[in-house]
């Protein structure tokens, strides 16, 4: 969970990393050593899944905003799951 939280926090704090995550997702996930459920959830930006596996809701939400996900889209997804 630490690696996932570290990635969520650093995307939130670093717009260049956010930009790179959007264009080179797998490479960034490799750098942070993410595997399994957390990797899959980040690959698909499945915020509900991130919540279910125990990521901190503040960090999920702030990371989503930094990745240019709108507030309404975020909450729609967290309530209803990724369509």
């Amino acid at each position: 969970m630490y690696s996932l939280h570290k990635l969520l926090w650093e995307i939130r704090k670093d717009s260049e990393l956010a930009k790179r995550f959007r264009s080179q997702t797998s490479e960034v996930l490799n750098e942070y050593g993410l595997e399994g459920d957390s990797r899959q959830a980040m690959l698909t930006l499945d915020f509900k899944k991130l919540h279910e596996i125990g990521a901190n809701p503040y960090l999920i939400y702030f990371c989503a905003l930094q990745l240019q996900v709108g507030r309404e889209s975020y909450y729609e997804q967290i309530r209803e799951g990724k369509s």
Binding site: Y2, W9, H51, N56, P57, Y58, Y61, F62, I78
Partner: protein
């Protein structure tokens, strides 16, 4: 001898300053009138410094280091942390003055009085935690601050009792020095709200009104015995009420809640409270 001359506690929802117009006009007026009254009382108390207690929303701390309590000792603080946040919460980015010497004193006092907070000598930036309420309470940033951060954003949190006792320790620390005579304590956060969760936008009015009754009772036992589960029923953001509990410990007197409104448009049960027992109102 220094003295805590008053304590205040408020919500810090970004909506209070960022999109006040979305609230029902009656609710907005009630909250803004209460903030105005709190500001008037703070000015009348003529504080030499403000000890400002809040959480921070992963703006500085993260899972590399997430202290239960942290005391800052810088002489200035940037807030809001980014231009984007400044625009979001409608607070101009600027430097807030700090009283590093008083912060250092409280930190050292804590270590010799059974508390072990983190020391933050610099680099602490503010988010809505302080910027939103201070826009109303000290719009010109004229009072030097001692920011204290407690963990209200990730379990396990410091217990309610520990937060109250920490506030008492702050009061004793203020009284154990002579240089800063008049100190106001402000706690910010809560009341009920959910951040990043499906319930976001709902308010647990029952929890909020019960919390208000307890904080107005002046009975420490009623606020010290909150369990994490009780608070969790009002949302992950409700854990910020620990800042109110610490402020209650710092003043040791009942609060008067100047306004409470459930404001879904601001995503919180929103309240402003004051404990100014020595003030001629």
């Amino acid at each position: 001898m220094g003295k805590v001359v008053g304590a205040f506690a408020t919500s810090h929802s970004p909506g209070v300053t960022g999109w006040p117009e979305r609230a029902e006009p009656r609710k907005r007026e009630a909250i803004e009138t209460a903030f105005g009254e709190a500001r008037r009382r703070i000015d009348e108390l003529k504080p030499d410094a403000i000890v400002a207690i809040s959480v921070e929303h992963f703006t500085n701390f993260n899972f590399s280091n997430l202290p239960a309590f942290a005391i800052a000792t810088a002489d200035s603080y940037l807030g809001p942390v980014t231009a984007e946040m400044a625009e979001f919460i409608n607070v101009p980015q600027h430097e807030y003055p700090g009283n590093g010497k008083l912060g250092r004193h409280i930190y050292e006092f804590a270590l010799t009085n059974e508390f072990d907070p983190a020391l933050v000598e610099g680099g602490l930036a503010f988010d809505e935690n302080f910027c939103v309420p201070l826009k109303h309470l000290d719009p010109d940033s004229k009072y030097p601050l001692v920011p204290i951060i407690l963990n209200g954003v990730n379990p396990p949190w410091p217990t309610a009792k520990r937060c109250y006792d920490f506030g008492e320790m702050v009061r004793h620390a203020v009284e154990a020095q002579n240089e800063v005579q008049r100190v106001v304590v402000i706690g910010t956060g809560g009341l009920s709200h959910w951040v990043g969760l499906p319930e976001s936008g709902t308010v647990n009015e029952e929890f909020d009104r019960d919390f208000i009754a307890r904080i107005e009772s002046g009975d420490p036992e009623q606020i010290k015995n909150y369990s994490p589960q009780e608070i969790d029923a009002a949302g992950n953001g409700a854990h910020e009420v620990r800042t109110w509990i610490a402020a209650a410990g710092a003043i040791g007197a009942p609060f008067e809640v100047l306004a409470y409104e459930p404001v879904p448009e601001w995503l919180t049960g929103t309240a402003v409270a004051a404990a100014t027992p020595g003030l001629n109102l």
